[in-house]
């Protein structure tokens, strides 16, 4: 019966983010938080595994104090307990810092048979977390997983790669990242939302992880984030007959690289 840990991130909902047309800066003042999309797949996959095989699912997150809003949401999706580490500096944390903090927390919480992450987060989409966690914890990593099955107690992971699929088995604990196509996360019912209040959540203090300032210093600095706005060409083909206009349109599209 596996003991599973899911790592997730609380991110801003991109639908609420507005782009300032003057300088393409992002206005996030009205953006609500959400569990990162592929992390929802990770949570769902963990819960599905436990429904099939028995065992337990815990969840873990590292984020700003706003991440506290995620706890009931996560618990309503099936995990038995959630651990969280809050740190205002998490906003600027890179993949190195996040993986270091999560690994530190995992060492403190205890061992797991499987640690599952989403393929990448909805905001930065670095796709590094599973690999970094595995390296830090000295565990094998199985990334880009599109299916997890069980065969006589052995878990089989189907990995979707650029030009093929690969089936892997792992003996012993492993870190896994899952693709969005692995499942359709169920929407929690009302009773699951209410039931979340009865499940435990535990805050782990960053200071208790014994990490050095250097380990908590991002190695990648995000200098600025700009929005992308598709602007209209506002080109009107009005000269000549229909055939001539069509030819002009085709030529224009070809020039843009569309063929």
């Amino acid at each position: 019966m596996p003991k599973i840990l899911v790592c997730y991130k609380w991110v801003l909902d991109e639908q609420d983010i507005r782009i300032n047309p003057n300088d393409l800066s992002l206005d996030v003042s009205r953006a609500k938080g959400k569990i990162s999309d592929f992390d929802r797949n990770a949570i769902e996959e963990a819960v599905l595994l436990v429904e099939r095989l028995g065992g337990t699912v815990d969840a873990l997150t590292y984020g700003t104090p706003a991440a506290k809003q995620s706890l009931k949401d996560v618990l309503s999706r099936g995990p038995n307990k959630v651990y969280w580490i809050q740190d205002p500096a998490a906003e600027k944390a890179d993949a190195h810092v996040i993986a270091t903090v999560l690994a530190g927390a995992i060492r403190r919480i205890g061992s797991y048979d499987l640690i599952i992450c989403g393929e990448g987060s909805s905001d930065s989409y670095n796709q590094q977390m599973a690999s970094r966690l595995a390296a830090t914890l000295d565990l094998p990593a199985v990334t880009f997983t599109s299916q997890i099955t069980s065969d006589n107690g052995t878990l089989k992971f189907t990995r979707k790669l650029d030009d093929c699929t690969e089936v892997a088995t792992v003996s012993g604990p492993a870190v896994v990242s899952v693709l969005g196509e692995i499942n359709h996360p169920r929407i929690p019912g009302l009773k699951q939302v209410l039931g979340a209040s009865k499940k435990p959540s535990e805050e782990i203090k960053l200071a208790d992880l014994g990490l050095s300032p250097q380990e908590l210093t991002p190695r990648a600095i995000r200098k600025s984030v700009k929005g992308f706005v598709m602007s209209r060409k506002n080109v009107i083909f009005k000269d000549g007959d229909a055939a001539h206009k069509v030819a002009q349109l085709v030529a224009s599209l070809a020039k843009e690289g569309l063929s």
């Binding site: 309503s76 929407i187 209410l194």
Partner: protein, 374 residues
């Protein structure tokens, strides 16, 4: 509006919105075209506890309270007011039993209603001029230690798919409203006949039909001849839920129109840059925001067990004015595009009137409000 909502309520609101987006939005236009009862969607609603919102946990309900219920109704209505209306009318019947039923009636009926194994409906309107009047008035006669009903109820929502009806009938036509009594009637009862499904202007996927009673066995809900205050409170609770529907429809309509206005370019600019369009969007959004606050205030009163009929009437009155006027304005923004039956706006336009005029005449709210203050 978030500051008024608890964490649980915000999560419930979000989940209801996700449900509506995933299950209702893709089929809403098609459901509206065919008028087909969405049986599979109703099962999904049940599996998410969306048919037992405020019912006690001891009967299998979610016991989340009326505010959460109103939040959920608003979110479902954004995608399909018809499906939300099925939920609202079912929940109305459940509300009546939970509120006025005996311990035995609650134990007998609420678990199946809470889990969505059975659907409920409320039959109130009659073709006649007033309560107990006219040849088709529903009259309750004592027989064999119980009651039988004879008459006709018209425009019954969920008729034909409901398993249980809450029906209002008079025990003494001469006494009129003073003898009004609430009853529970099984859909399988001998002598109950559901008429042909009516083709309605909007809310098409929600079945509406007349129900005829010919010596149909019925059990009293509440007390004999105490049906008028029951009907008044039931209508008031229903008014709040329907106002939540109106807010959902209008909220979606104004967002839809705003997105369109940003994309539609005329004279070199998006039409959202024109003052006339901005005025419409501002007024509709503001009215919707105010209506939403009023709905949740009234819902909170219901949840707290406080008197709420005056507030419910105010909410109904405001929603009636908000609904139709807002859709006229937002349809104006979308023009020919919105007028097309393939687009959402046409459906919203037809649905919104169903959320404001059904179950009580337009004059009802003013009478209740005026009576409470003068």
């Amino acid at each position: 509006m978030s500051y008024l909502l608890t964490e649980d309520q915000q999560l419930i609101q979000k989940n209801a919105r996700d449900f509506a987006k995933q299950y209702l939005e893709p089929m809403a236009v098609q459901l509206d075209k065919t008028g087909e009862f969405p049986a599979e969607v109703v099962k999904k609603l049940a599996s998410h506890d969306f048919l037992g919102w405020f019912l006690p946990a001891e009967f299998g309900g979610a016991e989340v309270g009326y505010v959460s219920y109103a939040l959920g109704v608003e979110e479902l209505s954004r995608a399909s007011a018809a499906v939300a209306s099925i939920v609202v009318n079912h929940s109305s019947a459940a509300y009546a039993i939970n509120r006025w039923g005996t311990a035995e009636q609650k134990k007998k009926y609420l678990p199946a209603l809470a889990k969505g194994e059975k659907l409920g409906a409320v039959a109130m309107s009659e073709p006649g001029p007033s309560v107990g009047q006219g040849p088709e008035a529903v009259i309750a006669t004592q027989q064999d230690g119980g009651y039988v009903l004879n008459g006709c109820k018209c425009y019954v929502a969920n008729a034909g798919v409901a398993d249980l009806y809450v029906v209002f009938g008079c025990t003494d036509p001469a006494a009129g409203a003073k003898s009004l009594t609430a009853f529970l009637v099984s859909a399988k009862a001998a002598g109950l006949e559901v008429g042909a499904k009516k083709s309605t202007m909007g809310l098409r996927a929600r079945p509406t039909a007349d129900v005829v009673f010919r010596n149909v066995a019925a059990e009293v809900l509440g007390t004999v001849n105490a049906g008028t205050p029951i009907a008044a409170e039931l209508l008031a609770a229903l008014a709040v839920a329907e106002a939540a529907q109106t807010v959902g429809v209008v909220g979606f309509a104004v967002e839809h129109a705003a997105k369109y206005a940003q994309q539609r370019v005329q004279f070199g600019r998006p039409i959202s840059a024109f003052q006339a369009i901005q005025t419409i969007l501002a007024e509709v959004s503001t009215n919707c925001y105010v209506a939403r606050l009023a709905v949740y205030d009234a819902a909170a009163l219901i949840e707290q067990g406080k008197p709420f009929t005056t507030e419910a009437a105010m909410v109904k009155l405001f929603a009636q004015r908000l609904g139709i006027n807002s859709l006229v304005e937002t349809l104006q923004i979308e023009g020919g595009y919105g007028y097309s039956e393939e687009m959402f706006m046409a459906k919203l336009f037809r649905d919104v009137s169903g959320t404001t005029i059904l179950e009580s005449p337009l004059e009802f709210p003013e009478q209740v409000i005026a009576a409470s203050i003068a």
